[in-house]
């Protein structure tokens, strides 16, 4: 179900009962809108920010996490779109803001929201079961030799995981059956249970099962290795994972984690949140989280952010078109 948080906000709002008026500081509890299910990477990140803000007293009003993962996250996008002028809602966005309007023809455009800041870039890693092939080359060879296509678990359909699978097929010539699960956590468990041969989860989604020795990272879809060198398992750190390019599979993809306010908020309101999330990126909670979950820290705002978004949008659009996922 997971609708709890929404009720929490309703109740909290009812208790506080002040009208929706804000100058340059929120007067009502602030809602972090998560466009994914409970326990996924977005949810984890939202909870980290909630804790960072409350523990360090970065804001007077309480902050609540609101899960709107319905319709593969489209629920959150439409919710933000319909909250025009409301400065008490911040969306924690990822690549779905580019992809959903293309694949499912959702009437949404991120340019209608107010950009606050890009706060991190998330990696994708190719994982297999620890009982499976040990390197990318062996994995590709096994996938090609298999009588039935290898099963690739992922989150959602015609989205980042699916796109990566298509490009993996194009570059290696191996065939995969892509199985869209509801969350990265489910994709992780299904890999551990040997119901799929591989997945392309974010580091945070597979971290615990990797530490338990149940899955093996084969390569990371980035130009360079992950920079964190402290040991995650007994023998390996994030930096020990080779890039896919090193292993002969030139596929790269990084995903933004960015904050947006609804459209038509004032410049003061926008400035408040830019400042707030800038402070969040200075906290120990944030730094710790970045390292633990192997995210790339980044802070972009204003013109830099818009430029980044436009370029990123173009990249995603061309990937989606090439993969054949754009709805006609």
């Amino acid at each position: 179900m997971g609708h709890g948080i929404k009720a929490a906000i309703a109740l909290a709002a009812a208790l506080c009962g002040t009208p929706a008026f804000a100058g340059w500081e929120p007067t009502k509890p602030v809602e972090i809108v998560v466009a994914a299910g409970a326990g996924g990477a977005s949810d984890q990140m939202a909870r980290m920010m909630q804790a960072a803000i409350q523990k360090n007293n970065l804001m007077k009003q309480p902050i609540v996490v609101s899960l709107k993962g319905g319709a593969s996250g489209a629920e959150a996008l439409m919710y933000m779109k319909s909250s025009e002028g409301d400065p008490n809602k911040v969306l924690i966005a990822y690549s779905l803001i580019y992809m959903l309007p293309l694949s499912a023809k959702i009437p949404f455009n991120w340019r209608e929201l107010t950009p606050v800041s890009v706060i991190a870039l998330d990696q994708f890693v190719l994982w297999d079961n620890s009982g499976g092939p040990k390197t990318v080359k062996e994995f590709v060879a096994a996938a090609k030799a298999a009588s039935a296509p290898f099963k690739m678990g992922g989150t959602g359909s015609k989205r980042e995981d699916h796109v990566l699978t298509v490009f993996l097929e194009q570059k290696t010539g191996a065939k995969f059956s892509y199985l869209p699960y509801k969350s990265g956590g489910e994709a992780a468990t299904q890999l551990v249970g040997n119901h799929t041969e591989s997945n392309v989860n974010n580091p945070s989604e597979n971290l615990e099962v990797w530490r338990a020795g149940q899955v093996r990272p084969l390569c990371v879809f980035d130009k360079e290795r992950i920079s964190y060198t402290s040991k995650v398992t007994d023998t390996q750190s994030w930096a020990d994972i080779p890039t896919c390019k090193e292993e002969g599979v030139d596929v790269q993809y990084l995903m933004l984690r960015a904050m947006f306010l609804p459209g038509k908020v004032t410049a003061e309101q926008q400035a408040f949140y830019v400042e707030l999330f800038h402070k969040v990126t200075q906290t120990a909670e944030y730094k710790d989280y970045m390292e633990k979950q192997a995210l790339k820290p980044i802070f972009l705002t204003g013109k830099d952010m818009v430029q980044f978004l436009e370029e990123d949008d173009a990249v995603n659009k061309s990937l989606m078109t090439e993969a054949g996922f754009v709805a006609k």
Partner: protein, 505 residues
Amino acid sequence: MEAFGLLLHGFAVLLTWKTLVLMMVGLVLGIFVGVLPGLGGPNGVAILLPLTFTMDPTSAIVMLSCIYWGALFGGAITSILFNIPGEAWSVATTFDGYPMAQQGRAAEALTAAFTSSFIGSLVAVLLITFLAPMISSFALKFGPPEFFAVYLLTFCSFVGLGREAKHKTIISMSLGLLLAGIGMDTVSGNLRMTFGSSELLRGINFLVAVIGLFGISEILLTMEERLALRGHAASISLRVVLSVWKDLPRYWVTLLRSSFIGCWLGITPGGAIAASFMGYNLAKRFAKDPESFGKGRIEGVFAPETAAHASGTAALLPMLALGIPGSGTAAILLGGLMVWGLNPGPLLFIEHKDFVWGLIASMYLGNVVGLVLVLTTVPIFASILRVPFAAVAPMIVVSCAIGAYAIQNAMFDIWLMLGFGVVGYVFKKIGIPLAPFTLALVLGNRAEDAFRLSMIGAGGDLKVFWSNGLVGSITTLAIVLLFWPVIDGLLARVGLTQGSRPTPR
């Protein structure tokens, strides 16, 4: 025994005045939240989660899990008194609980519900205590075909074992499946039946439908029949409680069966909802006089409540051991764990022993304290029924509306709830059972996804549902249950069973 020692250590962590006070506060808050339809466990936990950020993880989780127990107990109250299930798994409790309340046996029904909740959770906690490592590896055996087989089993048990006419059950179920298809289809990534409406994007929320189907339609019916909520004889005393308890041993088979079903489905990630329905249907199936179910039979309260709470408790296990929340509330608790820097997963049991065993010990204590607390307050709740219907009805409608709105903060959902109220009224009038409809609405999507993922993985080969012992036996059992009336009849004819009761058409 290692588990026993660790459990004692857990109790030692808990038994301080501070934790005991937190426990009581959590329970009272939980019961309060559980009584309001539409709120319930997940929401109660969600509301209070930020309050616990300043506590240490163990105190925080004790408080939260006590809110959870309280809400579970509280949820049974509205199911029985007003026919409004607060959680998906309370639906089956209304089947016999509400008729009992109408017959003036509300106190008896409430006592039965609370007691069986207690027994169900207790069995599940014992299971968690001693079998945790083994069980988490069992849960890993479930891939898409296995999940589908479990859902199929639930659907088939409804058709095959239900009391209602088969065609009506199937009509009702098909309508539910149809509505479950509204919204985004995870497998293809396309929208279905949304007709360009952004309100329909997220699909029909199950709780909104249930509040309308059961709560609002009941008010409509009562208004039509000019009936008061017949609760005049709801006097309660220790005697009622004791007499229910005295009869308890008579139902040990039902209690045991339901506990087993609950634990089994609870550990299967996401299977908790199916448990209460299945517990109810099996109790009915094995009863000597299945006709008396649905008319206020106490066993009809014992069976689903025991199963629901066994599964609700067992659902915490996949959350702790695998990081997969088995229920809505478990999902919120999962979020809480991560805030405190505890990452649920296979290593949690090894790296954070204090926390895990503190939590398990709090399940024992919270349950016992909760039972006492809730039983002493039964008279207060049962007396709600003595208030005139004209005064209670508007309050129920208002609290239904608040509940429906609060789920997604959407005005649209209130209209939807009223619409479902009318649907429920019509269904009751023309004798179409509501339960298969709600079941299909809850499980339809998951069953469909599981089926399609199985098909993608197996290249469209149906043999995948018999590809190993586990999935094969569940699927076969499902099909046997579906055709049970026919099989039962054949067996009787051959003389293998000593004559069976006439099977309903």
